[in-house]
């Protein structure tokens, strides 16, 4: 066997794996769009403005309720304020 | 193949402070199918002379031709093509790549020619049989002895079946028995129709009965002793 054949085998394996992942992505996307209709209904029906991530900062959960001073009113005990607790959890007494 | 040099001069690093004049006005004619020895101390310019004949680089001035073909003005690319068709090199250090097998080392010159692996093996096998190193074919180059390395180097020089063999101090790392063996291989090659040029200051080579010509080189000039 020539070294080239080994290379071809590796490339082939990677190709098969990546093709499988590509189709996985396609299926995922398909499912996502099937659910998207419901997501749209939810945001419109409740007037939501944001994803439910960083719930400790009101300005990310709902940017419409943001003031310049808002960061200081977030989670009681949070030292760090912007962006929400990326690095430290609040100090609990 | 007739080799002709006419007032060849080679200057390294021309125009710079470290300029070295290696050859000055060398004129030399080497008849086909002869064994010629370039004799001289190290630094005398015999390696440079060998490199010009071997198409490694063109002379700074003067004319060099092999079988009537002018080398002096050829661009690097054509020198390379000419070199691989006509010249086989054997070096003092053998210059075998240590990580490769004997077989791979011998067939190195065939790779850029587009010779298939099967064909390469076939060609190399003929030479390893001639030089009786067939049993070492799959050994790594750093696992075999000095004498065997020398044979690998010879096989590699011969793989393209070049008409001219150039050897630079080939016996410097060999004992006298192996040196004699080397000379007899060279003689066989000459009898097979090749032109052999050996640069050496080893008396075992220079005094060898089969050497037709001895050309003395001293301070970059041809020197008649």
């Amino acid at each position: 066997m020539r070294p080239v054949h080994l290379l071809l085998a590796i490339v082939f394996v990677l190709f098969v794996a990546d093709t499988a992942l590509f189709f996985h992505a396609r299926i995922q996307r398909h499912q996502f769009y099937a659910n998207k209709k419901i997501l749209d209904i939810t945001t419109a029906g409740l007037g939501l403005t944001d994803l439910c991530v960083s719930t400790e900062a009101r300005y990310t959960r709902h940017p419409a309720v943001s003031d310049k001073i808002v960061p200081f009113m977030d989670h009681p005990g949070a030292i760090e304020h912007f962006p929400t607790g990326s690095f430290w959890a609040p100090a609990f007494p | 193949m007739l080799i002709e040099l006419e007032s060849v001069t080679k200057i390294y690093n021309k125009g710079r402070p470290n300029e070295v004049k290696a050859l000055t006005g060398v004129s030399l004619t080497i008849e086909p199918q002869t064994m010629v020895c370039l004799k001289g101390a190290s630094g005398s310019g015999k390696s440079t002379l060998l490199s010009i004949v071997g198409c490694v680089f063109p002379p700074t001035s003067g004319r060099a031709s092999i079988a009537g073909k002018q080398l002096s003005r050829l661009p690097d690319r054509f020198l390379t093509i000419h070199r691989r068709e006509t010249i086989g090199f054997i070096f003092q250090q053998f210059n075998i790549l240590p990580g490769l097998t004997v077989m791979d080392n011998i067939t190195l010159p065939l790779l850029p020619l587009g010779v298939s692996p099967r064909e390469r093996r076939k060609k190399a096998r003929i030479l390893t049989e001639q030089l009786s190193i067939t049993h070492r074919e799959n050994f790594l180059a750093n696992q075999i002895s000095g004498g065997e390395l020398q044979r690998v180097a010879i096989a590699r020089a011969l793989i393209n079946n070049p008409p001219i063999i150039l050897a630079d101090e080939p016996t410097a790392h060999l004992d006298s028995r192996l040196s004699m063996e080397f000379m007899s291989i060279m003689n066989d090659l000459r009898l097979a129709g090749k032109t052999i040029i050996i640069a050496s200051h080893d008396t075992l080579v220079t005094d060898h009965p089969q050497v037709h010509h001895i050309v003395g080189v001293k301070d970059g000039r041809i020197h008649v002793p």
Partner: protein, 397 residues
């Protein structure tokens, strides 16, 4: 002829592979580090793209204009009487009052989002039951009913109980009947939500009767949004008028800050790698110089020698690229980007369960390719070229 050329390139590729194998320790470690850097870059890119896409999608259905009242620089409850003033502005389709607040649950140390509104007045309000796992939305008139998100359900440990209690500001308890639970499909949007009708929210937060926190304004013609917003700001001078596009901008700033921060960290890593690669891969060792000289003297052309070097570098870089990207996809799609979640989402008590859909575009891949593979190729091939153009004998004597 053509066959010979093909065979020649196969031979050169063979030689490059065996040459890679001869220096396998060095090459494997370069491959590993390189693949690691590409993995980090690619998965970061995929997560950011996936999250921003999700956020953008959800913002598309946000109310066009939100009105809040300001007092002493702070947001305050807005009187419902303002709605009469709005009704005189031409072009406004609908105004929905709403109470949007936060409830800090001291037992679980989590922040919940409380929403009091009449869902039937909202667009798609009739279809909203589709977003529920079970139950229905609170009646407009009834009191003490609520719909809760998954995180609230688990944090409060409800199981089969359907009653939930919260403290009013004066620490008296207010109980709700849980009439619905949001489905896990919409968890990313509703995990921390407690939806109730507006009277209950007013009671819970002790907001004076006739007041809400904000007014959602829907406009008939989307082109008119800015004009109408300006008109509202003129008529109701103590309010802040937020349009959808402003909210989107705020959002982008927040995410931009985060992804920017992480990008800087990653770029530093990338720069470090390129410097390392330049140092390690570009400097030719004496053995490598000798090898190039030997090949040249044996009749290899400069281009052949360069082809070997190119293939070596290209194979290492391209394999690292493919492996890095493949693992990045696996990391994001199957492991929910465990490594980057903390940086991008921040610290939080409530983490909604959601699956990221990695967004892979040709642009991104090309960008990563240009930032990684090409510098590496340059760092390795150029020194080899500089070595290969000098006469062949220089390094073997």
């Amino acid at each position: 002829m053509l066959k010979t050329v093909f065979e020649k390139h196969l031979n050169i590729l063979d030689y490059s592979l065996s040459s890679l194998w001869r220096r396998r320790l060095k090459n494997a470690s370069v491959l590993l580090v390189f693949a690691g850097v590409i993995f980090l870059l690619a998965s970061f890119q995929m997560v950011t793209q996936a999250l921003t896409q999700l956020a953008k999608d959800s913002l598309e259905n946000t109310p066009e204009i939100t009105i809040q009242r300001m007092s002493a620089g702070r947001q305050e409850a807005i009187p419902l009487a303002y709605m009469d003033e709005l009704s005189t502005i031409f072009g406004i389709q609908k105004v929905v009052p709403r109470i949007w607040g936060y409830y800090f649950d001291e037992a679980n140390l989590a922040n919940y989002t409380v929403m009091g509104l009449d869902v039937s007045a909202m667009p798609f309000g009739k279809k909203l039951n589709l977003a529920l796992r079970e139950g229905r939305f609170p009646e407009r008139e009834g009191t003490g009913e609520s719909v809760i998100g998954q995180s609230v359900y688990t944090a409060k440990d409800l199981k089969n109980r359907r009653v939930i209690s919260f403290f009013r500001p004066d620490l008296s308890l207010k109980s709700f009947k849980v009439v619905g639970i949001f489905s896990s499909i919409v968890d990313l949007l509703t995990s921390d939500l407690i939806v109730m009708n507006i009277e209950d929210a007013r009671d819970l937060f002790a907001i004076a009767p006739g007041f809400v926190t904000d007014l959602c304004v829907y406009v008939a013609n989307p082109m008119e949004v800015d004009t109408i917003a300006k008109k509202i700001a003129d008529r109701l001078s103590d309010t802040r008028v937020l349009t959808r596009s402003q909210i989107m901008k705020t959002y982008q700033v927040v995410f931009g800050w985060r992804s920017g921060f992480a990008s800087v960290c990653l770029l530093t890593a990338l720069a470090a790698f390129i410097i390392l690669a330049w140092d390690k891969a570009s400097g030719l060792s004496p053995e490598e110089r000798r090898e190039i000289s030997i090949l040249k003297i044996l009749g290899w052309e400069t281009t052949d020698v360069l082809a070997v070097r190119f293939w070596e570098s290209f194979l290492v870089a391209a394999l690292a690229f493919v492996i890095g990207c493949t693992f990045a996809y696996i990391h994001v799609a199957f492991f929910d980007a465990t490594l980057f979640r903390p940086v991008l989402l921040g610290w939080s008590v409530i983490y909604p369960s959601f699956q990221l859909i990695p967004n892979i575009s040709v642009d991104d891949l090309l960008l990563i390719f240009c930032f990684t593979v090409i510098p590496y190729l340059a760092a390795t091939v150029i020194p080899a070229w500089r070595c290969a153009i000098v006469p062949a004998d220089s390094a073997i004597r």
